[in-house]
């Protein structure tokens, strides 16, 4: 017999969702579809949120500031035990890549829905990840670690200016500096190191060549600890200060997507990767080359564009892997259909330096003919303590042009009142001929903002 029997691998009955916002609602949706009960951790600021109402139960884990609630490893682990949860889904951000939480879960007999702690440590340390990538045969940018008190100048000289100073302990733009003039190097290293120490508790920094015309292309992987497959690539080059705003799949106009995908799988294999993950690359448009950037060992904000073109539910796949199942798909089973583009609608004011705009949403209308992942509705509070993402609007079409047309039409029909949003900026961006052509680099958005000061 093939082992399909009652009692075996029936899976999780209750999952603690240790996050907030749209991703909490997203995870709850899949759990509900699978018949899994959900318990949501909430801070005092989120007790009345829409995800809190969608979940079967909620557990308060602390006051509004994230450090006292969503980032509190002990509180989250204790909530999982108190909830009688079989597993924790950490979403993205917060503790999603926290090895200490993964270890605390293991100790409490709760499954952490994500890679094992050793993988989290290897990918969380950007320097270690870089070494793994190089060992797996992936091209890495010229660079290296800056030892404490050592002069970075010689290393930078070898790399060639401009160089990028990066934090080893984490990403998201913190501890990151571009240095064009050798005279500024020492100061930049000191500032980046201090920033990294504050943000990640790890002052280590390293240098990498700064590619001026690079694109951010990433590959979605799935692994079960044994086999690793890819679910295609995404382009996330439309960013401002390393915050992505528009993502799409597949990445348009990439010369050698097959090599990129194969590289991601090779790294996944080396790591014995278990779960859903993303391997980020910098594609040097000028030189037709690509370089490994980092691994995100969690579900990504932009995962829906991959879901749209593959027809898969990535959260369901994460859960299946965490339940101890082998991958349900072979590489041949993964097929790609059409093109998908996502816009992140944030509560921020592009006309005022992208200042966050917390408050209360008084009206929220989204079109029904596209996918919208959101946690807000009329009456929703947008607390000042967390990131400003309100909704992701995702359109799919047979071609990039069709997806773009559908997304434009959808954004025209979105209404969000009560807080200032970047909705108008998105509408204008989607109308920009350069974006329409596809394949913009990571400097595109800043240039677009500068050129059209009236955009705000």
């Amino acid at each position: 017999m093939n082992g399909r029997h009652a009692g075996r691998g029936r899976g999780f009955q209750r999952v603690l969702v240790a996050n907030r916002g749209e991703i909490a609602a997203r995870v709850i949706r899949t759990c509900r579809r699978l018949g899994i009960e959900t318990v949501l951790t909430v801070s005092d600021a989120d007790a009345g949120s829409r995800p809190a109402r969608l979940a079967d139960k909620t557990i308060r884990i602390g006051p509004a500031p994230a450090r006292a609630s969503y980032l509190n490893v002990d509180a989250v682990a204790a909530a999982a035990v108190a909830a009688g949860a079989d597993a924790i889904h950490p979403g993205y951000g917060f503790l999603s890549e926290n090895a200490r939480l993964a270890r605390a879960c293991a100790a409490a007999g709760v499954v952490f829905i994500g890679p094992d702690p050793r993988t989290l440590e290897a990918t969380g340390d950007k320097l270690a990840a870089r070494e793994h990538a190089a060992a797996a045969g992936l091209p890495v940018l010229p660079g290296g670690h800056v030892p404490p008190d050592a002069s970075a100048r010689e290393l930078a000289g070898r790399i060639g200016f401009p160089v990028l100073v990066k934090a080893a302990g984490g990403g998201g733009g913190r501890g990151l500096r571009v240095v064009r003039d050798p005279a500024d190097l020492a100061q930049a290293v000191a500032v980046a190191s201090a920033e990294a120490a504050a943000a990640f508790g790890d002052p280590r920094v390293y240098l990498e060549r700064y590619v001026t015309r690079g694109r951010h292309v990433e590959v979605q992987i799935l692994g079960d600890g044994d086999r690793v497959i890819h679910l295609g690539d995404r382009d996330c080059s439309v960013q401002r200060r390393y915050q992505k705003l528009i993502e799409e799949a597949p990445a348009p106009l990439v010369g050698d997507a097959a090599r990129l995908r194969a590289a991601a799988v090779a790294l996944g294999r080396r790591l014995g990767y278990r779960g859903a993950g993303t391997v980020e690359f910098l594609v040097d448009s000028g030189r037709d080359a690509f370089y490994f950037l980092e691994v995100n060992a969690r579900i990504q904000v932009e995962h829906p564009v991959t879901e749209k073109i593959t027809g898969l539910d990535l959260v369901a796949e994460q859960i299946a892997i965490a339940e101890g199942r082998p991958l349900r798909l072979s590489q041949q089973d993964v097929t790609f259909s059409g093109h998908a583009i996502e816009c992140r609608i944030n509560a921020e004011d592009p006309g005022n330096g992208f200042l966050p705009s917390p408050g209360t949403v008084t009206n929220a209308v989204f079109p029904a003919d596209v996918r919208v992942d959101t946690h807000v509705q009329a009456g929703s509070a947008v607390p000042p303590h967390y990131d400003s993402l309100l909704a992701k609007v995702i359109a799919h079409g047979d071609s990039r042009a069709a997806a773009l047309a559908a997304l434009r039409s959808a954004l025209d029909r979105c209404e969000i009142d009560g807080v200032t949003t970047n909705l108008r900026m998105h509408r204008e961006l989607l109308a920009d001929p350069e974006f329409e052509r596809g394949g913009v680099d990571t400097g595109y958005l800043e240039r677009w903002i500068t050129v059209g000061a009236s955009h705000g």
Partner: protein
């Protein structure tokens, strides 16, 4: 082991196939209904699902314009832990005509490739040579993937079908290496607890350790009790239906049976919360789609005579309604009893009920003498196309049928087309799955299915009334004001033109 031992029971859920067929004429459930609940059903802890049949696949194409092969595949994907069962006779696919053995081999290969991994072999005349040959084909199609084959012992009440008869069949099941287990199939729901107490030990005694399951329809209200007796007698797998798709002419209600089994000291390892979730989902589908929910049935002695199973009865009522002669239902039922006796008591299991009813309808509705009109199915049956009738056909009736010119035509019918001949007929560009659909049904039906595109795969019963309301409103340009008024709540919507 003591005879009346308590044990650990497993369940096979029949909601999606036999439940749908018995209560909703096989047409109630679409891909969306099934795809939505499949991941949850996977987690209940069912040993297997009675999932599909060639009839169900035909309905997918004909009624829903949905690709049945896609439905098999997407359900397998959503249900990695649960055996998915296909039930068939081994000699036909969708069409009522007998298929070439090569075609049946291709059918089973395609079914295995689409994810089916448990196969019922049901020969309506208990022709065990045919059953063993079909089991061999299925095992070959399954390769090393561990496909489960389960043979049906179809229960009926007649002079020929005593305990020794079923024990003899069970012994042949035990001796066949390609058959893994057996089940007692009671399509009419006429197995009483009393008879179970002699029948089940006789069958178990001859199975030599191969497991036995019980599939007893609840049409007469007997099977909830018969199932409890079976558990006590050592049967370890019982077949059930959930919520609206349990009871009535379907199988016993899962939730109630689990409670009753536990009350009798047995254990049933299912997730009660999810079992209830599945049952409420089917309740919701029934309410949203206007489909009847299975209800507990009362005992009806007349039923013991005609033995027409639930799904067939539902279909018959629908056919009579379509012909505008619902009032002649009782007359047709009486004729069914007579025809069945004249044809040598065929067990009322597919395809024989359709055959007996077809003849009964012809006899009642044609206006001429009985057997003035005889459907081809009946002629093929008396010619032995479906195996040897268990008891001889009434000699007068046999003469009347065989003396028809059509009988000679059918006797001289060319053998069914082989796979190579089918390929020649439908062209090389047609894939195996489509080839089999084109073999089984008119090409126009398959074309219409292909033209309809992929099926919808999500469904929310709670949203249906609202969606219906919105659709209706959308179709009426004149409606410019909508008011919903109830205690403590007033909703008023006005169109731009309204004041």
């Amino acid at each position: 082991m003591a005879k009346s031992s308590a044990g650990r029971l497993e369940l096979v859920d029949v909601s999606l196939r036999d439940g749908n067929q018995s209560l909703w004429g096989a047409t109630g459930l679409r891909t969306a209904h099934i795809a939505q609940i499949a991941p949850v059903m996977n987690r209940v802890g069912f040993r297997a699902l009675d999932f599909s049949s060639s009839t169900a696949m035909g309905v997918s194409v004909r009624t829903h314009r949905e690709n049945p092969w896609d439905l098999l595949r997407l359900t397998r994907k959503a249900m990695p832990d649960t055996l998915l069962q296909f039930i068939g006779t081994g000699f036909r696919f969708i069409s009522w005509e007998k298929a070439h053995p090569e075609v049946m081999e291709l059918v089973y290969r395609c079914l295995v490739n689409a994810g089916m991994d448990r196969f019922v072999v049901l020969d309506p005349t208990h022709d065990m040579d045919a059953v063993r040959e079909t089991a061999r084909i299925i095992k070959a199609a399954g390769g090393t993937s561990g496909t489960e084959v389960i043979a049906a012992l179809t229960y009926t009440v007649s002079a020929a079908h005593d305990d020794a008869f079923y024990a003899g069949i069970a012994a042949r099941v035990a001796a066949c290496g390609d058959i893994d287990r057996a089940y007692i199939k009671d399509p009419a729901g006429i197995l009483t607890p009393e008879r179970a107490r002699t029948l089940i030990p006789a069958v178990l005694g001859s199975l030599h350790g191969k497991p036995l399951e019980l599939h007893a329809h609840a049409s007469l209200g007997l099977s909830p009790l018969t199932c409890l007796a079976a558990a006590e007698l050592g049967v370890r797998v019982l077949q059930v239906g959930c919520g609206a798709l349990g009871n009535g002419t379907s199988l016993p209600d899962a939730e109630k049976l689990v409670a009753n089994l536990r009350a009798s000291g047995h254990s049933v390892d299912v997730d009660d919360r999810l079992l209830a979730a599945v049952a409420r989902y089917f309740d919701g589908v029934a309410a949203a789609e206007g489909l009847p929910a299975g209800q507990p049935r009362e005992f009806d002695a007349a039923f013991m005579r005609h033995q027409v199973a639930g799904g067939v009865m539902t279909t018959l009522r629908r056919q009579l309604a379509e012909l505008g002669v619902e009032h002649r239902f009782d007359e047709v039922m009486e004729e069914i009893t007579v025809v069945r006796a004249e044809l040598g008591y065929p067990i009322m299991v597919t395809p024989f009920p359709q055959m007996v009813i077809g003849q009964a309808l012809a006899n009642v509705l044609s206006g001429g003498a009985r057997y003035d009109q005889v459907p081809d199915q009946v002629i093929r049956y008396v010619l032995g196309s479906f195996g040897k009738p268990t008891m001889p056909v009434d000699p007068d009736v046999l003469d009347r049928i065989l003396s028809r010119p059509r009988a000679r035509e059918l006797a001289d019918e060319p053998p069914p087309l082989s796979v190579a001949e089918l390929r020649h007929r439908f062209g090389d560009r047609v894939g195996d799955e489509e080839l089999l659909l084109r073999f089984g049904m008119p090409g126009a039906e398959v074309d219409a299915m292909l033209a309809a595109g992929p099926a919808v795969t999500h469904y929310n019963p709670d949203a249906q009334p609202l969606l219906r309301l919105l659709r209706e409103l959308g179709q009426r340009p004149a409606v410019d004001q909508l008011t919903v008024d109830k205690p403590g709540f007033r909703l008023e919507l006005k169109g731009r033109g309204a004041r």
